[in-house]
Symmetry: D2
Subunit: 382 residues, 4 copies
């Protein structure tokens, strides 16, 4: 079973890169963006470091330097190449990275097929595959950002991957009371989704649809980016320092609004959800509209099992749940050390692999970040 799953997930990563040019694999268009080549190597390193080096006797590393280059930030397993310098690496080449993947895949498949004690590595394998799936979404986010950095507006996909309608304007209501939140399943879930715990939630309502580009444009046209009263203090400083006037991929060309998409530059669709916005912008919009962002707990109650096309910003800072326990050892760094000055997003997006998603899933980013597939849903007290 897990052999097949390993194979499929690893292949999916490569499929995302179909259509890229060799040149696209190496560019780092912002310090938080990684070159596609780096994702391919880093996810591979994860299996090598946490599984093969420990559980595959006689495994020979593909290249000793790669731990330095492709460790992301796990300080307990050695020094690492600085994140903002990933774009300096023309070598190893894409071909060498693919060879690295093949080398590790061969060893992993051999290990999975022959190991006498599968349960010892099961947890690590699960983490490794979930980690790979997380990077599949990151890969698409990063590809979009990299391609957007060229004024040539290259096309990644012939299909319009990001064309959804914002949805119905109705509101769904919820009654107040104590709820059990967080993950209680025996299946895999990240440590930050656990433990399942009780919370008292006031009654509230969430609008069924995303905020659309058209609605967001109204906010802009009514002077939203120039009216400090809607903004968090940090957000106001940010839009002024960075001269932010619209969502990340919007382009005003000769009086007409366009949007850079994975399909290249297209006219802005007023009925599609606004996307690639920061928490600051989401919150300012919500203030302007007289509503508010939902908390992550309200959204957890709102969300069914189905994945959304865009992550929804919540008003919840990313914090540990009551009685939270992080992973042990090197993997303890996976989630817990980021629980500071970030906000939670909920709901998944079209780029999130379906098998990877759960409705207790907590995604998190800094309040100014917006290269992820983020959108806005509004809530209100009732």
């Amino acid at each position: 079973m897990c052999v097949e799953k390993y194979r499929l997930i690893r292949e999916s990563t490569l499929k995302i890169c179909i259509g890229l040019k060799i040149e696209d694999f190496t560019v780092q268009s912002a310090s938080e963006v990684s070159p596609p080549k780096w994702h391919l190597a880093h996810t591979t390193w994860f299996f090598e470091e946490f599984i093969l080096n420990k559980y595959s006797p006689g495994y020979e590393k593909f290249n000793d330097e790669y731990s330095l280059l492709f460790n992301s930030y796990y300080k307990s397993v050695g020094t690492h190449w600085k994140q903002e310098k990933r774009g300096l690496l023309s070598r190893p080449t894409v071909q060498e990275v693919l060879n690295y993947r093949n080398h590790v895949d061969a060893a992993m498949l051999a290990l999975l097929e022959t190991t006498m004690e599968p349960e010892r590595i099961e947890f690590l394998l699960e983490i490794g595959l979930n980690h790979e799936q997380q990077h599949q979404e990151l890969l698409l986010m990063d590809i979009k950002h990299i391609l957007s950095s060229s004024p040539l507006s290259p096309v990644y996909s012939e299909k319009r991957l990001e064309a959804f309608s914002a949805g119905s304007l109705k509101w769904r209501h919820f009654k107040e009371g104590v709820h059990e939140l967080g993950n209680s399943e025996s299946e895999f879930a990240y440590d930050n989704e656990r433990p399942c715990h009780k919370r008292y939630i006031n009654s509230f309502a969430i609008r069924e649809s995303y905020i659309s580009n058209g609605e967001y444009l109204e906010f802009i046209n009514s002077g939203g980016y120039h009216s400090f009263q809607y903004w968090l203090s940090d957000g106001w400083d940010w839009i002024n320092e960075e001269k932010i006037q619209s969502p990340l991929y919007w382009r005003l060309i000769e009086g007409e609004w366009y949007e850079f998409t994975l399909h290249g530059l297209v006219l802005l669709d007023m009925y599609a959800p606004v996307s690639h916005i920061s928490l600051y912008e989401a919150q300012a919009f919500a203030n302007w509209s007289g509503q508010r962002l939902p908390t992550e707990f309200e959204l957890e109650l709102f969300l069914g099992d189905s994945k959304l096309p865009l992550w929804c910003w919540t008003s919840s800072h990313y914090s540990p749940y009551p009685s939270y326990e992080s992973y042990m050892g090197g993997l303890g760094e996976y989630n817990s050390k980021f629980m500071c000055n970030q906000f939670v997003l909920r709901g998944g997006c079209f780029a999130t692999p379906s098998e990877h998603y759960r409705n207790t899933y907590r995604n998190f980013y800094r309040a100014h970040q917006r290269w992820m597939f983020s959108g806005i849903r509004v809530a209100k007290d009732i």
Copy 2:
């Protein structure tokens, strides 16, 4: 009644400045620190801007330029001098600022004694006096920081104002359940303490005593500042970039630890609570000790009515309460726009005026800040 209260509170501010040299009033030792002169003028401006200009017909401003100089950040009432440039102002002189205070006080007292509709200004007066009291604590924090910036280690107070013992090592236990938290009183409270609302709190325990300097030194001596596993990721970056190795005012002189205090440089008292630490350090210490910081709600339950000598860091990001409503108009900026990337401290400190403090009081700072009188109390799940 309120005339006397106004007089007393305004006088208390000046009393804090007794013993300062003229030169001390002008220095800004960090971008977040304000010169004492600025505090004296800004609190005065607050009454002028929000009360006299609106409710005292015929009031003449002391100096038209002062709104620019002494508005802190209320963007709805005009532009303001940049916070980090407050130390550039040698003029107005201290004497001119005192004249400004007298001018405004005379007008305020006249207004308070003659107004026919006291209820219209009652709320603004309440805010203005609470604002002044907040600045009394800030004034002392800033004086300490300014004096600490000279290698001459000047003495502010002949008395040891900051000498407390850390307290008993016992733990107090709390049972789980739904609690009403936040402020439900009819008396004055800030908008951020309201509304009173229900929360489900797991059972927990909090240690009766502060973490002492001696305990904190153990953390340092065991390599705490060099062991990334105890630190939030942002905190680790911060201590490395800023080369932080100990609490803000500790000084290692020829192998002996000293502490800069309002009484000058003194030998570090191992039994006193550690103070002037950041949230990062508080959290790293808690991790190292196998415990955790309390949430702000746990501390609210723990605190009686009495004020503490040092603010306690909590693990709670500063967020609005369910159904929070901010002040209207210009004062809406007072609290709500800061609810991002800050953490809550609870309990008050020796510098907090007693009449200003309530056990629902929420103080908040950024995770790296430490010039306030902050300390550590640890909690655990039970």
Copy 3:
């Protein structure tokens, strides 16, 4: 003789500070500006460090910490307080600094009156007094900058110290040939003015008058600050990053040009020389006008013995003369280590003490600096 000279020069420094408020003595309005208090102490430290500590047996330092605080950058004589942090020092107070001056003056006068070997300290005394005189000019530059930082535009002097006319529009011509340049006198001169050496100078002409405010305003009004072709590449970057649109102390108030002066804010005098401009602006103006800046050697030939009211920028980078030899020991740092990325100004200014000035005098600043009393004279090939 030298006792009297010492007394007079030291007194002149204090006279410059008459009219300052205590608050003015402590502010540092830019990293390159020093608080007046610091100048008073630093010039005093110079005598203590280089003369009293070595040649006055039994001399007791006024305060051991002062070397740290008031050494400017002489690395060979110990560590020093960072230049950009001079404004953090509220202590020592102005009174304590005056006491320091008195302490050192008493010891210096005793030494000068009793020393059996005056020739041993003569050179150091000469340097110390020249150093003090240099700081007299710096003091006035810094006072102007500090007072300009307050929107209250305080008045330093009842007299208009900076009111000169730009002068005659005639050109003075010079023939080409080998000239002896640099200082050949036996009297005191800085090492950077020496040795006297030969240079071949092409024929040239220099305009008798300074560029006036009126002429400079024409440059501005014709779009000078928006036309890259007049600017050095670094200068263009600088005006764009710093948003420079006019000379340092010009203020456009309701359509009218004013200038901040030591006499406060006054209407811009169109016939006075433009002042407080950078090399970048001087050079851009010269390009726009179809002329060029003179070299320092052309200006040395042009200048008689009389001092000018404003320093003239030259097109000469600050470099050593052929066969240059710097001072020995700690004083070797006085000039030579700054011979990189600075430009020479020639001619003195109204704030330069007359006895301090020589026509071989080389002043030097970075191309973007403009808080010194700098002006423009243009030259051309003939």
Copy 4:
């Protein structure tokens, strides 16, 4: 004639890229380094912009966006892509850039073969080809820097391109007097080499050989990087901020010194000239050794017609010659606007095309830059 020359020079550029991987063409390893792809396109743009657009009627641009992307800094001919963002461009691909070269070359060759008035474009062609040759050297400098940024130390060339011996230790003497310097030939030379003019030069001597790695290592081992007295003030700040301890490409690996070269990582050759050092380091070394750097004029007298293997730093700031006149129009930006805060290097290097070099050639860089092929020759007064 010029058809053949055009063809040869354009081909030489491509030859330098043989052996690069596609990935190497896109990386920008420092803000001053350009991706090889950019060089290939920029030199092509130069012909398109300055010749084809004006003198080839009916010429169709390959791609309208390319002027934006591949203009370097010529502000008079339109806006340009920021230099430090050249590494963000994965597109156009290397193949597209080669197509661009072919497109322009075809048009250029057609123009050269058919133009009725060759003299009109002769000067522009000359500049364009010299510009291309300058970029050939830059290309190699940048390739070396890019490859050095990967810890894998890739090999660019099987041959040791940079292996020279430092040469004889003898000194060559020169007598004082007036010399004619600068370029007086009718052949092509840059504006900054002109006009030929007279200078008085004191007698001096220059050592025949470069400073060797072995000599430089002595400087390091004697504490050169920790002794401020050898350094310019800016240089001292630079080595401390950037933590510079050795030449750019030196690597200390387990107690042994290596050097990254175009041939990969090799043991440091103690008899080869030290290379890739800054003016700061060159000057500090010279001070330490009791000598000095030559001026650019001394080196011009010293140099015969033959090109050196490494550029020699001079003590001369980069300034215009007497009666200097820059190119007219857009090309006026070629040299003159950089005459500020740079130093001159003389003598050429192994990467400078021979036909491009003249002994009046002035190369110039900032005092801290060191990715060019720079070395040290020392001089002294006699």
